[in-house]
Structure formats: C-alpha cells, structure tokens
Symmetry: C2
Subunit: 427 residues, 2 copies
C-alpha cells in the first residue's frame, strides 16, 4: 500500500475523483446510522430482560435482613446490593453506598458538594481563586462537562498505553494546591480502551498532594467489560492501595450497571473511605430519604453475585466482539500503510479511538454526517471540546448491528481518505 | 371535664400518682410502635403491588412515541409519564420534567444549583453576604434541613388555617433582597394538614419580590391525598396564577408518587416555566444522561391516567381514614376540655399536628419513647429543630395498623397528661 504522503498531486487527484464518486453514491443511499454514544445494542438489552421478571406482585419484597424494599429506609442501599457492587469494584461492603441509576449523577454531586461545601471540612472550592482538574486526554466528554460547568480549569494530561503521563500528574499534584482532582477511567478507558498499568496505579496511590482536598475520581465504568475470555485486564485496587500508602481518603471510586443491565435503569455506587463516607452521609441524607431499593433488589435477584455478573458480561462480550471486529477489520484492510490514521485495538470497554491526520477530525465527522453516519463530535474527547490537533475521533460500535457497523465503517474509511487528501492538497 | 389549670395541687398530685402507675404498667408491656415518619403502611403498599406486574420480560418496552425505555434518551422523562404528572399537578406537559424517585432530591438540587450558579443568570447565592428563606411553621423538617445545610438563614412565618401569614410574607419578600425563597406545602400541609386559601395563592402569585431570583418552592407532596370523598380541597394553580400575574418564573412546583406508589421507588417531577426549564436543562443534562424510564413506564401502565391515579388514592383514603380516626377519637375523648393540648383534624395528607402546653413537647416525646412509642422529634417542625414554644408534635398515623394507632395514641395521651402536670407543678 502506498502511503498518501508518498503520492504525487496527480495520483492524489485521481484517487480523490474516485472517492468523491463513491461519496455521492453513498449519499444517495440515505443511510441513518449512529456510532455517537456508548449505548448498548438491542441484543445486549435483550439478555437483561429476564431481570424484569425477578420482581412481581407475588415477590418477597424484603431484603436478606428483612427490611421492606418498598418503603423508606436503607439510605445507603440494601445490604445484598452493596455487597454485589463491592465485589464488582473489589472493595469491602462497608465502603460502598449504592445510589440511584446514574454514576455520572454521583460524580456531579460529588464535585458540586466540594465546590459549595468543601471536602471533609476544607474550604469550599467556590471560595478559592482557582480550582483545577487534571484531565487525561483523550477522555470522557461527560466528565469534562461537569468540571467545565462548574468553572473548574481543566488541564489536559496525555494518556498513554499504560495510563496518564504520571510525571506530569505528579508534578501538578505535588506542586499546585489549586489542583483538586483528576478524572480517571482506569480500565478499558473511554475512548482509547487502555488499562492503567500496575505501576501507574501505585504511583496514583502514592501521590503526595499539595492540596489536602485533592481527590482522584476513579470511574470504573468498564471494570468488568472484557471483550475476550482469558485476556481480562486486572489492576491493583486503588482504594486499598491508597490506604496502604497512607492516603486513605484520596480516592472516590464510581461504578454503575448502566452498561450491564439497562442504561438509565441500572444501579450505581460510590466506594470510598469510611471518613469520606461519613462526610457524604451528612449531605446525602439531606438530599434523599433513600434510593430505589426495589430496583436494587431486582438487580441482586437477577445477578445473584459477582459470578452471575461476570457470566452476564461474557454474554455481552459475545455480542460485542463481532461489532468491534467489523470495525477493526475494515480499518486494517482499508487504511493500513496509508499513513492517514491510527487506531486502538481495545481488550474491553465500549470504544475504539481513532487518530486521524492532524486537522482532519472535524472534517471527517462532518463528511460522515453528510452520509448519514453520526459520530461523536470531533473534539468531544478533550476538555472544552477542543482537540488541539483536531485528530481524535471516538468510535462507538456497540449500538448498531455488526452488519450496520460494516456499512458505517466503510463510510468512515471513505471520509477519512477524502479528508486526508483535502488536507494534503492544502500543502 | 375539669381543666388541669383549674385543679388544685392536691387534685393534680392524686391524678399524677394514678397516671404514673399507668405509665409503669405500660412500660412493662415493652411496646414498639413508630409514629415518627410519614411512611405508607403495609396495606397501602399492597394495593400498589400489581404495578410490579406491568413490566416483565415479555413487555413492549417502547413509549407511545416508540422510544426504547431501556436505553439512553428522553432526559426529561417519557412523554406519557410527563403527561400523567402534569395532570396530577394541573399544569401543561411542556412545563414538566420527570426525574428520579425523589422530589426531595430535586428540591435539594434546585437550592444547590442556585447557591453555586445562581438562578437564570443571577449572582450565585453563595457569593452573597446573606441568603434567607421564609419557613412557614410548623413545617416539613426535611425542607428545613436542606436550607440549614447550605447555610441559608431561615425565618419562621406562622402558618394559619388558610396558609402562611401573607402580610409577613409580603413584607419580607417585597423589602428584603436577601429573601430568595419560601418553602410551601400548599395542600394538606405537613404537619398541620391545612390547605392554602384561594386568596393566599393569589397573594403568592402577585408577590413583587425585591430579589429577581426569589422563588417559591411549592411542594405538592399531598396534592391528591384526600382523606374523604366529596370534601376534596381544591386550590388555584400557582404556576398559572404566577403567569397571569406577570411572574411566570417565580415558582418551582414539585411532586412525586412516593406516597402514591412506593416510597423510594416512585417517580418525581418538577414543573415550572419554560424559561426556568431551559436553565435547569443545562445543569440536568450535565448531571445525568437520563432518569429511570422503565420505572416511568411501569407507573404509567399501572395508573394509565389521572382518573386511575385518583381512583388509586381513594383506596388509600379508605385505609388511612380509620387510622386518623383512631387518633382523633382518642384525643377527643381523653383530652377535650383539659386545656393541655389542641390538634388539627386534617382533610388529607399524612399528619395530625398536636400543640401541647408550652414547654411540654420534648418531655412528651421523651416519655413516649420510654414506653416504646417513637414520635417525630419535638422541634423538628421548626427551622433548626427549635420550636420556641416547645409545643408542637407531629403525629404520623399512616404506618401502624389502626389497632396499633389506638395503643400508641393511648400512650401519647397518657404522656401528654403527665407532662402537663409536671409543667403545672413548676408554677
């Protein structure tokens, strides 16, 4: 395969003419495919449907401790559901509060509370001149939107194969008291799919923050979302490592079943030190009387335990692998050697991260949209929606069918090529 | 019946001896009854159980518009559930956002957002020297805890038979720019059970706040919670009245099905002007991707429409009336004419409000607890938990059975009498 950079003007022009013709043909088809968001597909939702049979009018509605899930009580979640999510996050049950349907909501509340009320007695962040968060990039747009909304300055930190650039993280956290937090998706990261190395986790646990109220926001969004059997990523447990390192309060872990059972109708949890929990309790017991315990019961009766959860996730993997493979095979066969893009081959999670030639991402996304293929907005994976290189695109292969993913990826590849030629012609 | 005040020392002492003996007998029984919180009883929960059969693995999971409730989308609630709650609040569907399981949570978020970010572009309340809320008293302790937690100064406003003292409300709202809100439970108020008069509602709608960011927090906790057929309280709709009066943005209405379906597993909503909603949307779409739409669907499929809701509430009333009557009959037969207490006779809602002789409430609650009857803490119905007269006690008759309510009220009456004698002996 000749790389685009090696082609002369003539060759590029000929190729462009051919691709433009293809573009018009695709446009005429009037497709409508969505690869924008990390949404489970219909086949994944289907395997969770029996969960809806777990609770009916004849069910025993009591928890193992005999508490009625239909009434107020158990503000921190029913015991068996706390245990299930503790096992999922590999922490102890007393460190877990089970909340509503959304871990994003817990993260938002956590930042909001810190802004207005401080962290375990610290000065409220809103009273400070400047509050900063470190943002490994590319990262999750909804994390960045929370900190943007609250006026927190976001500092991009490059995310490598084994996690964020820890030299940079340490420099900022150790030297700048305005740095109050970092957004992390440690396992099968959104969007690159990488998993933090053991060393990265240890370095996180051993941070010596200049600010006492610095916290790691550790989003276990994909902690059991493996794609392949036998090559499941494992990482040290950050909560336990922080405790060992003498930093017991430095981390908040978050998780939910949004991409396990039903997005929007799952259960979510926060895990953290008992001291952090005591502070959170003061606010949470003012905010709510209790979360949805019937739904917690429904989840526990369906999954039973961590083995049940893992077995369920194997079924997800079966359904997801063909979709990821559809994308990866086409990218490989169509783009290898052309020098106009690189991409990740994740072992889990929900995304493939694509790096186009610098300056091409927005153009590619716009072209795809013209052909009826909706991608995540270019730039979304960076703070303030601004990718300085205009290069990264997040591909979400989970929602469409494998067949649709083939169609969508072919169109994507076409647009990548066209955008590259247009960029090269600018030279 | 001779009033206690008319009794001489001798008579009081003799009565006291008799009551103390009774007290010891009751104590020996080792009862355990809870009249502390407004929790539905088992019989009420039972009539909502068929709701849990509405959704199972064979169900059509789509909304009327064809959206899949199992996946992300419809951040403001599914259309049919927005309509149901709009009808319950007597507003239009476009003014309603259906949220999670807790209206308290929406109120908390609303105050929190105003504190940190302001109201529709106003200065964030946390940047102001002083923020005040008006608190009709006696009122709902969980409202007061929200404003207390946020450091908002709470100003008690007497609540009469027809609503808050509107002269006082107008004076504060018209003259003091630090007054940013008022907590209202307009129908079957917590705890007195009164309903605001039409005139009170009109005066609310015509307030001319000194502060542009003043808001009425209108908690429709008991809007369809009538106790008697044919004497259902009706009030003008505050959202529509505010609009007519040229104050379209002045009110947030809240409601939930916590005391209709299942506490903790219901659905909640906020209703307000489109301008307020646009501002809220910016925050809510950062906070969550979506609320639990499967549970929304479950509710709509069960209740169908406002007629279904009202029919359901008639069944609740059947179950609640005997409990209220058990309390009221005993209070009447045992305390009438004694001059040691007065109480409300609500036409709806969840509570009976009891005013003991000044200085007696804490003592009564402590005595009841000694006999195994748990009441809401004395003072809870006032800001900061401080009832200046130490007089008001909230009785929650919904959770125990009617038989248990008889037992509990007999004990309550005994403690009221004893506490009164102890107070009179101090003279």
């Amino acid at each position: 395969m000749k790389s685009f950079a090696q082609m002369d003007r003539e060759e590029l022009r000929a190729l462009k003419t051919r691709l433009e013709k293809e573009f018009e043909q695709e446009k005429a088809k009037g497709l409508s495919l969505n690869m924008a968001r990390g949404k489970p597909g219909a086949s994944q939702l289907a395997i969770s449907m029996p969960m809806l049979d777990m609770i009916n009018s004849g069910s025993d509605m009591n928890t193992l401790l005999g508490n009625d899930t239909r009434n107020y009580g158990d503000w921190d979640g029913i015991g068996e559901c706390r245990q299930l999510l503790a096992d999922m996050m590999e922490v102890d049950k007393p460190n877990v509060i089970v909340c509503g349907n959304s871990s994003l909501n817990i993260m938002y509340d956590t930042v909001m509370r810190s802004m207005l009320m401080g962290v375990n007695g610290s000065t409220p962040w809103c009273k400070l001149d400047k509050v900063k968060f470190l943002c490994p990039v590319p990262g999750y747009d909804r994390h960045f939107r929370i900190t943007e909304l609250m006026g927190i300055e976001m500092i991009p930190v490059p995310l490598g194969e084994d996690g964020p650039d820890m030299d940079m993280v340490e420099r900022y956290v150790h030297e700048d008291a305005a740095v109050k937090g970092i957004w992390c998706v440690p396992k099968y990261s959104n969007p690159t799919g990488i998993t933090y190395s053991d060393e990265v986790v240890y370095r996180f646990a051993h941070l010596q923050p200049k600010a006492d109220d610095f916290r790691i926001f550790w989003d276990n969004a994909y902690c059991i979302h493996h794609l392949f059997e036998g090559i499941e990523d494992k990482i040290p447990n950050i909560l336990k490592e922080c405790e060992k390192a003498g930093n017991p309060n430095m981390v908040y872990m978050f998780a939910s079943t949004s991409k396990i059972s039903f997005p929007g109708s799952g259960v979510s949890a926060i895990a953290t030190s008992l001291e952090n929990m005591a502070y959170i309790k003061k606010f949470m017991t003012t905010q709510i009387i209790g979360h949805d315990k019937i739904n917690q019961l429904r989840h526990v009766r369906f999954f039973k335990n961590i083995d049940g959860l893992n077995a369920h996730m194997k079924k997800h993997a079966e359904l997801l692998r063909p979709k990821f493979e559809a994308v990866l095979n086409i990218l490989e066969s169509e783009l290898t050697g052309l020098g106009i893009g690189s991409w990740t081959r994740p072992r889990g999670g929900y995304f493939i991260s694509f790096d186009a030639m610098p300056g091409c991402a927005k153009n590619i996304v716009a072209k795809c949209r013209e052909l009826g293929v909706v991608l995540t907005e270019a730039g979304a994976t960076y703070p303030y929606g601004k990718d300085p290189a205009d290069s990264n695109i997040r591909i979400a292969p989970t929602f469409p069918t494998p067949e649709e993913m083939v169609q969508a990826t072919r169109i994507f590849v076409l647009c990548v090529k066209l955008a590259a030629i247009e960029k090269l012609e600018e030279r």
